[in-house]
């Protein structure tokens, strides 16, 4: 029973935070698709779903992209964080800290009383 709740809970959690993980990776430096996917190892359920997500972030104007020649290999689409994307990431980071601490406290309290 716990296992069932677990898998579903993990996928729900992932859904909520994944786009901010993308923003965080792009905050370091611009990346092309495969680089981005490699940096998100462990957070993605399937790598391909990053592309619809990037579409959403572009529509939100948190991320922009451009086609460019790479040093090695064919031209690639590079993704970069916009100023609005930086703001969104910062808001989330603050919110996440509060949320994480609150959840930790609740979980720890529960473990102790049990």
């Amino acid at each position: 029973m716990w296992c069932m709740v677990d898998a579903n809970a993990t996928s729900q959690l992932r859904r909520g935070v994944l786009e901010y993980c993308v923003l965080a990776v792009l905050a370091e430096d611009e990346r092309y698709g495969y680089e981005l996917v490699s940096a998100l190892d462990g957070v993605l359920s399937s790598e391909g779903t990053i592309y619809p997500l990037l579409g959403r972030l572009r529509k939100e104007r948190w991320v922009e992209s451009s086609w460019r020649e790479s040093e090695s290999g064919p031209p690639r689409r590079y993704y970069r964080l916009t100023a609005a994307g930086h703001d969104a990431l910062e808001r989330f980071a603050r919110e996440w800290e509060r949320f994480r601490d609150a959840v930790d406290e609740i979980l720890e309290g529960r473990v102790r009383t049990w």
Partner: protein, 200 residues
């Protein structure tokens, strides 16, 4: 030198499945998604990669249906579902033949007026088998009556029989009958599985 390796074949099969799965997406979004995945695969599977490497990369990339489901959700396209028209069409095509054939014709009209199926799917729905289960049963009865043996004769003499089929002929006819009955059922299942709601 161009030699298709096993890895190339796997990638090609994956892209075919992805193209099929993205049929419902708007043109621009579809082209964009396909270009991104192709670029991803060029990076994930370097030329000369082995079969195992390609297989792992494709597994990590994920099921095309899953990727498309994500895109559909992003674009806010309602999840495709067959409506009342489609279900009525499927049922009438299967069973409408029993209603003096008229039911089947109504089903065919609904099939062709619906946007839930492609041209190819509509042709399959119409031609396999015209009249549906009703026509299949009717044809079966006709064929079976043809195979009835009539025997007669005078007492004390060997019986004399006319009509009927040889054993090999009978096996063939029975196979055709079974096929006639199973095909409309298979077609109904096929139509149900391939129906998608027209895009709003």
């Amino acid at each position: 030198m161009v030699t298709a390796t096993r890895a190339d074949e796997l990638v090609r099969a994956y892209l075919r499945a992805l193209r099929a799965a993205t049929r419902e997406l708007p043109r621009n979004e579809r082209a964009e998604l396909l270009a991104q995945i192709e670029e991803h695969l060029r990076d994930a599977i370097p030329s000369g990669a082995g079969e195992a490497e390609a297989r792992t990369a494709l597994e990590r990339l994920g099921d095309p249906e899953e990727i498309v489901a994500e895109e559909i959700e992003r674009l806010g396209i309602p999840r495709p579902r067959a409506g009342a028209l489609e279900w009525t069409a499927i049922i009438l095509l299967l069973l409408g033949g029993f209603l003096a054939g008229v039911g089947w014709v109504a089903g065919a009209v609904m099939l062709w007026s619906s946007r839930a199926w492609s041209m190819r799917e509509k042709l399959i729905g119409t031609l396999l088998v015209p009249g549906g289960l009703g026509a299949a049963v009717f044809a079966s009865l006709l064929l079976a009556s043809d195979g009835i043996q009539t025997c007669g004769g005078i007492a004390g003499q060997p019986m004399h029989c006319t009509g009927g089929w040889s054993a090999s002929h009978s096996v063939l006819i029975i196979a055709v009958l079974i096929l006639l009955v199973l095909t409309p059922i298979a077609t109904a299942v096929f139509l149900a599985r391939h129906a998608r709601a027209p895009r709003v």
